[in-house]
Each structure stands twice: as structure tokens, then as C-alpha cells.
Symmetry: D2
Subunit: 468 residues, 4 copies
């Protein structure tokens, strides 16, 4: 509803730790920003996998008796966001395959671009699907591998996948983590006492007081069991293409991601933005909280005073009632309110992380003017978002992205700002700490792997999928 891009998922796992389910609960709670639709945990006590998954926030899905029932010293967890069509409870993860020779649970952050092809091939061969997820195909591929060794079966399966995947798998005796060869989505390794933990972001390690060890490498598979940790390479080498948008918006600012401080990258983006696009303003304010680090950097580099002209509400809730006699911009006003006495008569530079459709920015600018701002100069700490993501982030179709068909001047007019400035792609790469190694397709249109037409048509809603 709100005008934002959203991450698909977050994953967390731990092996060999007392109260594994409790730690996993905290781990996915710390990753809640990566998915708010459903949450699930599978735990192993060495002989049996027990699971609980349901729609809702982590704090609502689990309570003490449920966590107590998830016995054992190993567990994986998942939080999930999904598009409307796929929010059926049966799609909640982790998924479990239970067979005579043992069970395998799987939690997936990412998106397979050859999902439709894989599924068609498997269904033709007689596999029955219980969910609408691309993740389930991975389980079927493992089940149908001719190999007898589980790790080889997993290798067989993941070599058939195209797209982004940071996977956690749990059997009665093992925790396995796999990251796609491009390293599109993050996955980190930590240690808590004698145990290992795997997580999408370091903020999950921090909460449980685990020590951050390193990223799982693109293309790497780690296997953790009672003998310790082994690193395997079932997937051939590739040129990494880490998602730069994780740094711009998705990841939590207190996380280290891809070895970088998310907060510092964002603040540096703000500094560079001030150099590229100075503003004739009396003060700099963020769109809280996502624009805050860049706004601090912008204020610092520009020498303008930083202030809070927009206040973020603490009780937005997930749902609200709108009077029929409509209140203008109610959605935005429930989230943010303006501090009129501060803004009255001022020229304001407002810093936000990105513009998707432009509708929210337009409401914010209107709200600031209604509160008395004399001029509103909008500054965006990333380049124009012009291309949809097929690799794990929920974006609108290309048609809905305002920057795909409109220049900066036009967008400025649409959002009614006195001026508008975007950080350059080069500036963002510099702020992120390196020229190359990024997937920046949402800004550049250069996808690191070929996107099958079916994926495109999925996004555009057109049969031919010929949007480019």
C-alpha cells in the first residue's frame, strides 16, 4: 500500500546450542524488517524435526509454550514477505520434506528466475506441489537426485537453480547454508559459545551476542554438524554481484553487510549527495527513519543545520480504518507528522533513500508545505529506480516506477518539489566502497544473469514480456 520496495525474506539458523528455538526466535525477530507476513521455525532434537509457521509478526506467531515445544539444539527460522497472490498460509517457510530416511527443512531468501521451468518439468514427471513457492522445487530436485548422499543430492539440486538464493537447510543431524554464485542476497556466519549461527544480517548475530566471523562466500556451501564446520563448493565460480539496494534501503543500519557498515555507507551517500546536489536551504531534515543516516551526512557535508521536521509515529499498526469522507494522505499522516513551528517560513532540504512511484514523496512535500515550509528541496541518496528486480526484491512493474519514463525535472514537478537531486550511480558505488561487484540492475538495467521472458511477463503482466 505504501510506496516502498520490500525485501522478500530473512533467514536464521543455529546448530548445537541449548535453547536453539529461543535463539532462532530472537534471530528472526532481529530480521523482522526483511519480512512481516509470516514467520516460521523448525527445530531438531537430533531425531525429529518439529515446526511452527504462521502468518503474522514473529512476536505474534510464537509464544512460550510453542517455543518450548520446538525442542532441540538446532533450528532454522524464516520471515517472509510475499505479494498478495502468494500470501496463502501454506507458503509459509521453512518448508519440510519428511521421508522414510529422514526429514529436510529449507528456508530461502531470494528468487529463482527459472522457477516456472523447473516446476513444469517436475510436474510433468509426477511431482505434486503443495505450495506456490519456488522454494518447493528445490526440495523436489533434491528428492529426485539419483545420488544417495544427501550433500551430493543438494549439490545436484542447487546447480539447476538460476537466480538468487541464500538457503538454510536443517536435517535431524546437520545445518547447511548455501549462497548463490553471484552472492546476490547476504548470508553471514557467526559463533555463539561453541555453536555456529547463520543469518541474513549481522544484526541477528548481535542480538544473541554471537561473534561475527565472515560472509558465506558466493557459491559456497557450509555444512555444520557434530564434527564442526566444513566448506564445500558445489557451485562453480562466478563474478559476484551483490545487491547494492540492500545497502541503500533494506538492511538494518546497525548491520555489517557484505563486510561494510550499512550506516556508514548511507551517511557517505548523503555526503556525496550534498556535493553532487547542494540545496539552497535553511535546514536539512530526513524522512525518518530510512533517510536519517544520509541526512546526517548531507547536513555535515553541506554545513546546513540538521533537524527533525518530520516525526515518525510509534503506533502505526498494520491496518487502519479510513473514513469514507476521506482525509487527505491519511496513510502517510499515520506514519509521519510534520513539526509546523520548526518548518514555518523555512527552506527545507528533505533527504530520502529512494523514490518508487513518487506518490509518497508528493504527499510528503505537500505535508511540509502545509506545515509552513517556504521551499522544499528533495534529495535522494540513490540513483533513479528505473528497472524492476527479479532477484528477490518486490518492485512494481516498470510502468509503475516513475523514473522509468520520466526525467528528474518531470519527477520534481510531479512531487511538487522546488528542486530534486538524485545521487549518481557512480557516487553510490563509491559510497558503497567499490566500483564493481554489484548488482545495480534496478538503477542500470544491467542484470547479472539472463532473465527468462516468463519472469518479465510476471512483473509486467503482459504475455510477450517484451518490456525492454
Amino acid at each position: 500500500m505504501l510506496d516502498q520496495l520490500r525485501e522478500h525474506c530473512g533467514v536464521f539458523g543455529v546448530f548445537g546450542a541449548p535453547e536453539a528455538a529461543n535463539l532462532t526466535y530472537l534471530g528472526i525477530h532481529a530480521l523482522q524488517h526483511r519480512g512481516q507476513e509470516s514467520a516460521g521455525i523448525v527445530a531438531s532434537d537430533g531425531t525429529l524435526l518439529r515446526d511452527h509457521c504462521a502468518a503474522g509478526l514473529v512476536a505474534d506467531v510464537f509464544d512460550k509454550p510453542i517455543l518450548a515445544s520446538l525442542k532441540g539444539e538446532s533450528a532454522i527460522g524464516h520471515v517472509r514477505y510475499s505479494t498478495a497472490g502468494g500470501s496463502h498460509p501454506r507458503n509459509a517457510q521453512p518448508l519440510i520434506a519428511r521421508g522414510a530416511e529422514g526429514s529436510l527443512a529449507i528456508a530461502h531468501n531470494g528468487n529463482l528466475v527459472n522457477a516456472a521451468q523447473l516446476r513444469a518439468r517436475l510436474e510433468k514427471a509426477g511431482s505434486l506441489f503443495q505450495t506456490d513457492t519456488d522454494t518447493e522445487s528445490i526440495l523436489h530436485l533434491i528428492a529426485r537426485s539419483p545420488n544417495s548422499d544427501l550433500l551430493e543430492r543438494i549439490g545436484d539440486a542447487v546447480r539447476q537453480l538460476q537466480g538468487s538464493f541464500s538457503l538454510l537447510m536443517l536435517t535431524e543431524k546437520m545445518l547447511i547454508g548455501v549462497r548463490d554464485p553471484l552472492g546476490l542476497r547476504p548470508l553471514v556466519l557467526g559463533r555463539v559459545n561453541e555453536s555456529y549461527a547463520l543469518a541474513s544480517e549481522t544484526c541477528a548475530l548481535d542480538l544473541i551476542e554471537a561473534e561475527y566471523l565472515r560472509e558465506i562466500e558466493p557459491g559456497e556451501m557450509v555444512v555444520i554438524d557434530q564434527h564442526g564446520l566444513r566448506s564445500l563448493r558445489p557451485l562453480g565460480p562466478a563474478r559476484p554481484a551483490r545487491c547494492i539496494f540492500e545497502l541503500v534501503y533494506f538492511a538494518r543500519p546497525d548491520s555489517l553487510l557484505f563486510g561494510r557498515s550499512v550506516y556508514q555507507v548511507r551517511k557517505e551517500s548523503g555526503r556525496r549527495l550534498a556535493k553532487e546536489h547542494p540545496a539552497p536551504a535553511d535546514l536539512v531534515i530526513p524522512v525518518p527513519d530510512s533517510g536519517s543516516p544520509a541526512a546526517v551526512g548531507y547536513a555535515e557535508a553541506s554545513g546546513l543545520p540538521f533537524d527533525f521536521g518530520l516525526i515518525r509515529g510509534h503506533y502505526m499498526g498494520r491496518t487502519f480504518i479510513e473514513p469514507q469522507h476521506s482525509i487527505r494522505h491519511l496513510g502517510v499522516k499515520l506514519k509521519l507528522s510534520a513539526v509546523a513551528p520548526l518548518l514555518r517560513g523555512k527552506r527545507v532540504a528533505v533527504v530520502d533513500d529512494s523514490i518508487v512511484r513518487g506518490t509518497t514523496s508528493r504527499k510528503l512535500v505537500t505535508m511540509l508545505r502545509a506545515a509552513g515550509a517556504r521551499e522544499v528541496h528533495l534529495r535522494i541518496s540513490s540513483p533513479p529506480t528505473t528497472w524492476p528486480c527479479y532477484l528477490g526484491i518486490d518492485t512494481p512493474t516498470r510502468e509503475e516506477l516513475i523514473a522509468s519514463a520520466h526525467g528528474v525535472e518531470e519527477i520534481a514537478r510531479f512531487v511538487t518539489a522546488d528542486s530534486l537531486g538524485y545521487l549518481s550511480l557512480d557516487g553510490l558505488r563509491q559510497a558503497a566502497g567499490g566500483e564493481s561487484g554489484w548488482c545495480d540492475a534496478c538503477f542500470s538495467g544491467r542484470y547479472p544473469i539472463e532473465i527468462p521472458p516468463s519472469s518479465e511477463s510476471l512483473r509486467t503482466g503482459r504475455e510477450d514480456g517484451s518490456e525492454s
Copy 2:
């Protein structure tokens, strides 16, 4: 659980507006920070009062069918916080008295210090109480008044009350607002189209796009019906004593309160704090979000850079599961996390609004040091909190207030800060815009009315109540 003071309640009412229940829903949603335990709305369609009250947040207590059932063009609403002993659902407000000659609903923000005496007298006379609230006594006093005119009956009742009360009352045909003679708790009047609205704070008017007209005066009673608005004076004149702590912490920063901008008062407190207690620091960070305006003022006045060294989580939830093998300071860590790359090796000035028991401050300082801060200088934008409140704010007993028995040096040692500075009471009054007219008993011990011993013993848990 967390180490905070809490407001008891918030109230909102509207008369003569289509979709009154929907507007009231939004109004109390905007006042959610004043009470998170229960919420309730009573609506009138001119002949019948309909109500819905339940434990929980506004967004959880109400849904579309419930709001649709609350028919009519007038409504009052209430959000409530209460101490553990009194959180029984039957105490949810608004309360309703239904009689042969009509019904009267009442919503109360404040605390009566002669509640026990009133109740004892009424019970002896045969009144049956259904709740544990002091508010119910007001209904019984109205019911037993010998007068036949309702407004006179209300006058009879409120003249017997001692303490703080901002009251909203609703009958089938009238909306009534009353504020105690000291004006301890806020109450404002607004206009939305042809209708009047009453609210604890202006942020509730802003959300429904109502125009702010004025405060209800201390001791004033306003009566709104089909003929318009009348102002009555059932309560004699008194020297106002508005709660200064509303400005320090409780009220939303975007509200106008007692005619002042809450945000600007807090920022000015920060500025004065910087003058009174400069810090040898490399950067200024707030304890978000309540310390943010003062931190901006502090940075501005001190010339030190402002930054975000603590990140506030968006998904705290209301409940969490703590592993038995305890994680240190989990409660605080679920709420706030430190940005280590920013803090490493730095001398940090941390700005917060107040210290209650000191335990949270101690955890925060520890967390900042663990994240690498070299020195931590704690600055508090209000004076030491030394006395409990009996007038509508939930405070611990005097014994639990760290500043009641400890000097600033001792507190600094307890919270392990390198230095600690509190804003002076005079500084706070200046920031609030005036020398006098305040209740600042929590800082000064000078209560604007006599506190009966029973109220004190209630707080201290001692029979004699002789704590001073």
C-alpha cells in the same frame, strides 16, 4: 518493565460530525502514546449510546464492523494505561451509566487524590461499584445529586473532586468537557467543518484535519449540543499548575501543548543543557526517539556534530521470549542497538529526557562502551526526578527513584557514565516559556494541592505514608 514513566490516559471526543466513531478511532490512535493497555469508544446517534471497549492497542481493539456498529454523529474515546493491579477489563473506559432518563458516558484523564474517601462515603450510602477506577465515583456523585438538571448535577459532582481531571462526557444529545481548576492535564478544543472536537493533544486534531482553536481553560466546562458551544464555570478560580513533565516527555513532539510547541520546548531544553553542562565529546547522539529534539538543540548550542549512534527497532513487539541462559540487557537491546563503526574510539555525549531508576541508562552506557565508545557523557534534558506523581502519571515509589536518595555524582557512578549533567529546574522553566504556572512536583516536591496520606501510602506501600 522498561524504566520509564507513563501517562495514564488520553481522551478524544467529537460532536455533530458524520462518521463520529471513525474520527474518534483516529483521534485516540493519535493519542496512543498516552495509553496502550485498553481502548474504548462510545457513540451516540441521538437516542442511544453504543460502546466498545477492550484491552489492547486501538488498531487491535477496533475493526470496520465494530466501528460501523458505533452509529451516530457524536462520540468519545479513551486510551488507558494502568498499573498491574487495575488492568482488569471491567476498568476499560469510557464508563457508561444507563438510567431511565438517559445514559451518560465518561472518559477521564487524570487521577483523583480523594478517590478513596469518595468511594468509602458512596459505598456506605449503598452505591454498588463495578470497577476499581476513581472515575466511577464521578458517575455515582452525578447520580446522587439532588439537582434535576444534568449540568448542575455534573457541577455538584466535580466540585467534590480533588486531583487532576480532564473529563469528556457524552449523553444522547450532548458532549461535555471539563478540566480541573489547576489545568494539570491538557485538554484542547478544535473545529472540523461544522463540528467541535475535544482532545488531550493537538496531534489528534491534526490527524483528522481539525483546526486548533484553544485550550479548555483550567476550571472550565464546555457543553456542545445542537445549539453550539457554551462555556460554563462550575469550578472556582485557582492558580494554574500545568504538568511540566508533559512537555519533557509524555506529549507527542508534534503537538502544541499549553499553547507551546512541544518540539521547540525540548530543543530549547537541549540548548540550555549544553550551556549548563558542556561535554568534552566528539559527537552528540540522542536516545531515540524521546531524546532526539533535545540532542539536536544540544548539538546546535555546543557546536558538536549530531549523529545516530543508537538505532531504534521498529518491531519491538509487546512481548518477547527470553532464553533461560540469559542474554544481558535483552530488553534494551530489542529496543535499541548501537552503531559500532560510528562509535568506535569516540567520546560521545548522549542526550536523554530523564532518568527514573537508572537501570536503563546504565545498560545504555554499557552498550555504547561495548560498541567501542571511548567516553560516555550522559546529559539529561530535565532536572533529577525525585518525587512521585499523584496527579495522573505512573511513577515508581520515592524509594525507587534513583535521584530521591542519590546525588548526581553517585548516579553518574551507578550508570557508569564518564560525566552526567541534568538541566536545572530554572532552565527547564525557561525552556517551557515561563517562570510560573507549572506543576513541577516530580522535580521540586511542591505539590499544587494537598496529597491525602492514603494516596501517599498507596505509592510507598507503607501504612503511615510518612515518606517526606
Copy 3:
């Protein structure tokens, strides 16, 4: 919905027994037939009354944790049926008055005919009512009594009541039972080990393996405390008028009521009915289960074979979904189904306990004919129901009672029976074991006390209430 008369309530109490709440749960479960809308229990542990009341069946309202929370060795419970208008949860019983000098819980089976007058008087004096029940007036009368002794206060109160009342009251230290001077509704005393129990019917005593001692006498008050049982007489003597309809339909057949076996009274009614109205039939079938005892008596006295031509469903549920394309008589068919192979070509005597509106009887006769019955002779084991009850039983208005305006011949035509016979009032009295001592106003119109016009208009829906 179904065409039945319904009892208003059932009560149960126990004093001085371990697990008093569990015993009370079983007691009101055994009395479930006397009220299915709400259930409640109040327990005392000697110093505190704890309660749980909710809408629903006993087995749904209570679970193990709830019962475990109702601590103590004394408890009273209540099951309730109410008319649609009064089914608000706040009306669930037992009601509790909590005061400085202790608490008093009350559970009431019966109906006060001067309820409106009492309430008007109390409201005028400033009493606030929280429920729509006549029972609450009793609490207010007790609270306002000038006496200081509780038993005298109760005496003051009950002497002001007109109508039917079997009352149980519980304080922290006492269990009290009171029965109205006419003894309209039942109330029995039992002993379980060293403890006393009070119940509407003996079936509740049987379930908990209590020994039946005796009826509470009309006009008697029993007080049970740690010193044992005392019998008081706060109410003057009157000519008893026990409700004969309890024997005809309401009470459970395995109960002893008013000292008589309900089953044997019904079977004897069937025998007398066979003598008064023989039928030219091939077999006798009951309308199960309420018509079963009388049908056995009818078969026995007539010499005709007894059989089951109608089968009662075990899973009626409380609610069902009716297709828009209506199935005829779905409500009756969900409850009863006909055994066509048995009925085909037969002349059938069908025995039921009473006819209210006639609509259900009509559907049953139709169903029997559709199943192949050649002739249907309807026999009713009580006289025509011609007058509404104001004394504790839910009856339709006089207009809706088919027998109030139609003779037996007309009713037979309406229900499409080949013949119809009612037991005479004299026959019923003989079956019940005595000429006099009954309230049989529903058959005779001779009410044992004066019915105020307001009660009548309540039933008839007319202002003047002048139906007689």
C-alpha cells in the same frame, strides 16, 4: 427459533468442599438443559471472590486453567437462557457486588414481576445499574438496607420482591439459598461428604455423587457457613404454587422434583392420556426425547406397540447454514428424521409433551406422512398451553400461543393431524400426584400472584397490557 418453551436458568452451589469450582462446573453442566446462553461460576477461598462468566455452553466457557484459577472451597454457578434483547454478556450471572466490607455474589432462577417498579425507585435514588437483569435490583436493595447485619439486609431485600426466585448467594464466608414463598421454581439441598450443596434439580447432585436431603421449603432461607446449616424464615407463609410445567417438560427426567420422579410423572401422564384419548393406531411413537416417557406410558396403557419412528440427531449444533433455495423444514430435519421403512402404510400415534405455536407439530406430521404414515394421531401429555408465563419461563405472547384462540379441532386441522388429544388439567394434576399446590397458570390463566400490567405489556408488546 424452534417451537419450544424455555427455562430461564439453573443454579448450583457448594460450601466447604475441596475443588468447589470443579464440582460447580459439573453441577451446572448437569443443569445445562435449563439455560444454554451463558454460564458463570464464582468461587470463594475464604477471603476473595473470583469469577468467570461468558456466553456459551458450560463445556465451552470453562477449561482447566480457568477452573484452577477459581480457588477455594465454596462456589456458586449459573446457567442462563435469555430473550434476544437481553443476551448482552454483561447480563451473565452470577453477579457480584464488591464493597469495602466484602463481596456478595448472586445467582437467580426465576423472574420478578415488580422488576420495573423496583428499578425505577432505585434509579431515582441514585443507584447505577450495570445490567438489564431484574437480579441486579436485589443487590441494590441489599446495599441500601439500613440494617448492618448481612442476613437481615438480605431479608429486607427479598421481602420487597414479587415473583419467582430461587436464589443462591455467596460471600467470602457463607453460602445462602432463598426460595420464594410460593416455591415456584425448584431448589434442593444435598450433602456430599461433609459439605452441603444446593441445586435446581437433583440430577446435579447425582452427577457429583451427593446425597439428596430435601427441598428448600417455599419461603425458606438456608445459611451455610463453617458452623453448619441454619434455616431461617425471612418470608411470611404462603400457599405453595409449584410450577407444574417443570414436571411436564423442563426438568430432566432423571431428576426428583418437588419430591416426585419426573420420569414417573410423565409416564403416568401418558397412561392417563391413553385413557382420555385412545387412538386408532398400529403403533405409538414419541417425539424424542421429551415425549419418550409419556409415549411409553401411552403404549403400555393402550396395549399398542411402542417404536421409534423419529430419530433424534446427535450433532444438531447450535447454528446451521440454510441454502437460499430453501429446503423445507430444514430446522426440524436437522433435529429429527423419520424411519420410513417402519412407518410406511401405518397408522401412527405420536406423543409429544406440549404444543406452543403449532408450527413444529405441523412439520412433524408432514414429515411422518412423507415417510409413508397412513394416519397420524397426535397426543399431547399436557393441557392446551393458553397463557403466557411471567414467572420464569420464556413463552411467546398470548397471540402466538395457538391454543389461546383456537379449539382442539382447529389445531388438529392446522397441524394436519388425523386426530388430536390433550391430557386434561385434572389428569395432569393427578399424574403429578396432587389436586392442589400447583401453579398451572399457563394452562388455566390462574396466576398465583397479581401480575402488574407492565409485565403483561412486556409480553404482549401492547401499551395497555389488557389482554385478559
Copy 4:
């Protein structure tokens, strides 16, 4: 808990009828006695299958909005009972396989004796199972059939099944019914207006006012689509072996089953029982309601008077709370209560349908003596139950069946009856209307198909399964 045998399931389906989901709701409601653990409906609107399944009774699982969401003119439904281990919600039926070429829903009454073998084979080939049901194997067999035509794929699948199965399947365009070659479980065909309906018993047809046409033949497959009804024979001919216990106990007495009136078969069993085992009694009473038809037959043939000495409670609930200070036989007493005034001093012949473990019979005899019966003569309208069922009925292990190791005299002593008589197997067959064509393995040990050792060990809990 109670000492009864239980049916596994009931099925209902309808094709081409407006409000198909509503009719199916009524159909499975009428079959509620065949399964009380979970209920489910799948409906087709011609292009999409929609489903709702959940644990609980039909009336609790569905409500108006849910039924309204199950759009379309075709539907199948299922009620289920399962053993404790298998009551996980994911096992609720109907199951659905959704594939690229359409979906297939399946509802199953019966039990496959080669379920373990089928599942092992399918898992080895890479099929992933989502439930613990034998029914899911049927879906996998259909998915893996090399044929392209759905009906041939179904034929391939059902030819691999051994055991009992009355199956309903629904696709977007078709309703299919299949009955195993032995005809172990019932399945009937009806017509409602222009539509066809399939059901386990005729009572489901009666409730929706459908006309009964015929049984689906053993080994027959009927296919209903827009062109009408076709009968296929995918399964070779076999000697029918209909379950005689359906007639003794499971089926509703108002149903026609296997072309016979269940009620008349039971009554005739009672008549023959009276001849085989007369009793020196003063009256005949049934154990209601299952023993009622046989008791009427017994009374008729013996010339003894029939009466109700045991009353069945109407509000048993599904769960109850037992006081720690145990009440003897509480479970039975919540279900049945004795009418002491009738039984006192009498010699009573009690008629029940069967004895499983003997514990309930023992409690009943004790209860009758406690109510005053002088002699208790127990008569059972079927032969001793000596062998477990592997073909769709939940029975205890052989060890738990009292008659498997004890003679009639011993059982009489155990249940403390003055005498005990069972109907002979020949007598039961005569009452059922024929010498042959029955599965009476529970009485005779002669199973109509070979039972694999794995099935037996499942029941007996022993590894070798060599119980015979």
C-alpha cells in the same frame, strides 16, 4: 476414551447444483456420526478449486462467509475420525493436488492395507509426502501414471490399491466416485433436481431432499460431468464383502445401507436375540441411543415391557473436567444417567449393540444396580467382537478386545451382569438379510483380503505382527 468402535470417515459430493458448498455442508453434517475430528469441503466453479478444511465439527468448521467463498456448482466434502497419532491438521481431507494441467481433490472413506508398501515405493522414486494419510499415495499414483487421460490415470492408480476405499474426486469439470471391488464401505447415488449427489449414507441424501437412486456397485467408477453420468469398471470383478458392522452400529438408523433399512435390521437383531437368549426380566431397557432399535425388537419378541431406564444427556460436550478427588465412572455418567424410581427392585434386561473392552458395560451394570435394579441381564445384538478391523474402522488391538481371550461366562463376570447373551453370527446375518456377501472379520476372523503383516503389527504394536 469411551469404549466404542469408531468409523473412520464419511464422504459427500454433488455436481451441477446451485449452492453446491451449502448442500455439501448439509451432506457432511448428516454424516457427522462417521467422523468428528475434522471436516473439509472443496468446491469447483468450473475453473478453480477452493477449499476449507479444519479440525472440529462441521458446524464449527464452517460459517456463512466461508461457505460463500466456496463458489461453484460442484463440491465434495469429508468428515474424519483418526487415531491420536494422525490427528495433525495437515491430514484433514479432502486433499488437493494442484498442477499445471488442473487440480484434483480427493476424499476417502476406508483404509488401504498396502499403504506402507505404496508409500515406500513412491518415496524411493522421489515423491514428497505432505501428510501421513494413505490417501495421499493415491494422488501420487495418479500423478505418476504414464497415461495422459485422467480417467485412465485414476484407473492405473486404484488398481494398485488393496483395502477398503469409497473415493470421491473432484476436478474443475468432473465429479468421480469409486468403490473398492469388495464394496466394504458404503457409497450411494442420489439425484436432486437435475444434479447428482454421492454420499456414504442415504441420510445425507434425505436431508437435502435428494432422491435415492442406487448403491455405487463394488468395483464401479462413476464419472459425472456436464454430459451426465457414465459408469466405468476399472476394477476387476470380486465377491462382495460389505461391512456388516455398519449395520450393527455405525450407520445412522434412518439410513438405507446396502439396500437395507438399518433400523429394521437392528430391530430384527433384537427379535432374534430374544429368541436366542430370553431373559428372566421385568422390563427391557436400551443403552440409548445405539441399543434402542434392538431393545424394541427384544421387547416385542419377548413380550416384556419396554422402558427407558437410562437417560442420555443432551450436552455431553467434547471435553470435561474431572475433579482430582475422582468421581466414579464420571465419563459414563456425563453421557447416561439412571432413572432410579423406575428401576428400584426390578429385574432388568439391558440391550446394547456390542461390547469392546467391557469397561463401559461394567460401569453401566454398576450404575443400574446402584439405582436399585435387582438383577441385570445384558443382551448384545451382535456376536462377540474378537478381531481387529484393518479395513476402515478404528478398533483396539486384539489384546484389548475382551472377547478375543474370554468366553461369555467370563465376560459376564467381568461386567458383573447376572447373565449375558450375544446374538449368533448366523442370527446377525439372517437379520441383515442374507447368508453371504459380508465382511464379518471382526466376529469371525475371516478377512476378505490378505492383511499384510505390517498392518497387523500396526494394530498389535508388535514387530512380528504374528498375532493369529
